[in-house]
């Protein structure tokens, strides 16, 4: 998840409910996916990155697209209601949504008929018995408008989409101290399992928290009413462990964690198998073969894809950025870097990209062409850091 910045003229930029707080905190604001967002605060990208890995970072991700998808047949309750809404969304994604337990969250992708990735998203099943038949979706900022249109066009008769991105804010609190910090305000946070949701009250208003994030660290995503978002954000920031973190560090954190950025590492031309996301395609879904692009995707699972997303470690200290060509010993192009930078925690340049299957094995020596000059590199396992999600 995470999104491609889109160009937008400055007057049209949207602001999140924390905009004034970002400015007050000294953030450098940039256009991102149609919003004016903080790219960094006073600590700077490296300081913010390290702080998140060591303590806790607070991210405003209100530009993303949270929505509820609710089964239209109101006569259905319990598992039957869940099955109905799950069957509807499963026509668009390859993830096993039906198999989610109440409150469980799963990563999946909207696929086009060719099996290309239209967007990636998180899908969570409602926890409460009286809310079965509702899914909580979070789509990428830059893709949410087209995602919502896609859902309505394809399954609008079976499930009703309610976007909640305009009256709710989305915060991410990430890092090893996130559990202690959030538990001071929301006691339910402590025992929440990884990739699970619970409904809580924040500042007297209903809110949803999930134990999830996009940094490779333990942490939470908090969906709360705009009216209380700033008050609550200030309370979190008042805790000694918490610093505000901008999009710059969000990018270096997710890259070290080996997580895809939509529009860069995955797009409509890449399949989930090529993107090394096969793990997210449910076993039952493979057997049923009833998701968009199933023919191509199942063939790629059986025969192996022609190219694959891999981690890349350039030798030395210089980063290899997005767009860097990957060549073999003879100089023939075998791939391209789709995300690359310097990993502050890895203390080394790290990158990911696509290479021809023959060169995709971990440890394979490859050459990167950086500013016209060859640079030695190696195909590397991802993540580049040890993930510390709560088990």
């Amino acid at each position: 998840m995470g999104t491609t910045p889109t160009t937008a003229n400055e007057e049209a930029l949207l602001k999140t409910s924390l905009h004034a707080l970002h400015v007050e905190l000294g953030a450098k604001m940039v256009p991102f996916a149609g919003y004016e967002m903080p790219v960094q605060y006073k600590l700077g990208v490296m300081g913010e990155h390290n702080h998140t890995r060591e303590k806790a970072g607070l991210f405003d991700v209100s530009h993303m697209g949270p929505a509820f998808l609710q089964v239209t047949d109101e006569s259905l309750t319990g598992d039957a209601a869940h099955d109905a809404v799950a069957e509807a969304i499963e026509t668009l994604v390859p993830g096993d949504i039906k198999g989610l337990k109440p409150g469980q969250m799963r990563y999946t992708q909207f696929l086009n008929p060719q099996g290309g990735i239209m967007d990636d998203l998180m899908v969570t099943r409602a926890l409460d018995p009286d809310r079965q038949g509702t899914l909580f979706l979070v789509a990428n900022a830059g893709m949410k408008e087209s995602d919502f249109r896609h859902i309505e066009a394809k399954i609008g008769d079976r499930a009703r989409l309610t976007r909640i991105d305009r009256d709710r804010s989305l915060l991410a609190l990430q890092g090893p101290a996130a559990v202690n910090v959030l538990s001071r305000f929301v006691p339910e946070a402590r025992d929440l399992s990884f990739m699970e949701l619970c409904r809580v009250e924040i500042e007297g208003e209903p809110a949803l928290i999930t134990r999830s994030g996009y940094t490779g660290e333990d942490g939470y995503e908090i969906c709360l009413m705009n009216s209380v978002a700033e008050t609550f954000a200030r309370k979190l920031l008042n805790e000694t462990e918490v610093e505000p973190i901008g999009l710059g560090a969000r990018d270096s954190l997710r890259l070290e964690a080996g997580l895809c950025l939509y529009g860069h590492d995955i797009d409509e031309t890449t399949s989930p198998v090529e993107a090394a996301l096969t793990w997210s395609i449910g076993k039952r879904r493979r057997e049923e073969a009833n998701f968009p692009g199933a023919t191509r995707i199942l063939k790629e699972i059986t025969d192996g894809p022609s190219r694959k997303r891999v981690g890349i470690r350039p030798e030395g200290r210089g980063p290899a950025r997005e767009g860097t060509q990957i060549v073999d010993a003879s100089g023939k192009q075998i791939g391209i870097v789709t995300s690359g930078g310097f990993g502050p925690t890895a203390d080394a340049p790290v990158a990911m990209g696509y290479v021809d299957a023959a060169h995709a094995k971990t440890g394979t020596a490859v050459t990167l062409v950086v500013r016209g000059k060859p640079r030695a590199a190696e195909i590397a396992a991802m993540p580049f850091i040890e993930k510390r999600y709560r088990k």
């Binding site: 990208v45 990155h49 710059g248 980063p319």
Partner: protein
């Protein structure tokens, strides 16, 4: 006595005789953020004014540093190889990039003095 000049690309040039020491300004390092790598040219290379002379990489992005004047690279700052953050800590001192033997010292006249650079930067914010 040395003269210090500045460019609109946020480089500083300290001239002593026909040798110019070149670096990026404190304003520039602040804009770039934490420097993680500096690619320096080979000693002995001839550069024309405007040629790419170095690349400075932050966590976020790579930025080219262009030769502010023409000449021969006579020395590069090897300290940056092991300690690129020196650029952040002391951009206009220990964080220098290259020393150039100027081919045409009169090119210096086109550059800004410190007062002109300060007002140039003030106009950017």
């Amino acid at each position: 006595m040395s003269t210090i000049k500045f460019t609109e690309d946020h480089e500083w040039i300290s001239v002593d005789g026909d040798i110019a020491t070149v670096g990026i300004t404190d304003y520039a390092q602040g804009q770039l953020g934490d420097v993680v790598f500096v690619e320096l040219p080979e000693v002995g290379r001839e550069v024309a004014k405007g040629d790419e002379a170095a690349v400075v990489e932050s966590v976020k992005a790579a930025s080219e540093v262009y030769a502010p004047l023409g000449g021969e690279i006579v020395e590069v700052n090897d300290v940056l190889d092991g300690a690129p953050a020196t650029v952040n800590e002391d951009a206009e001192g220990a964080g220098w990039f290259v020393k150039l033997k100027l081919s045409d010292p009169s090119e210096l006249d086109d550059l800004m003095d410190e007062a002109a650079y300060k007002s140039f930067v003030a106009g950017l914010d």
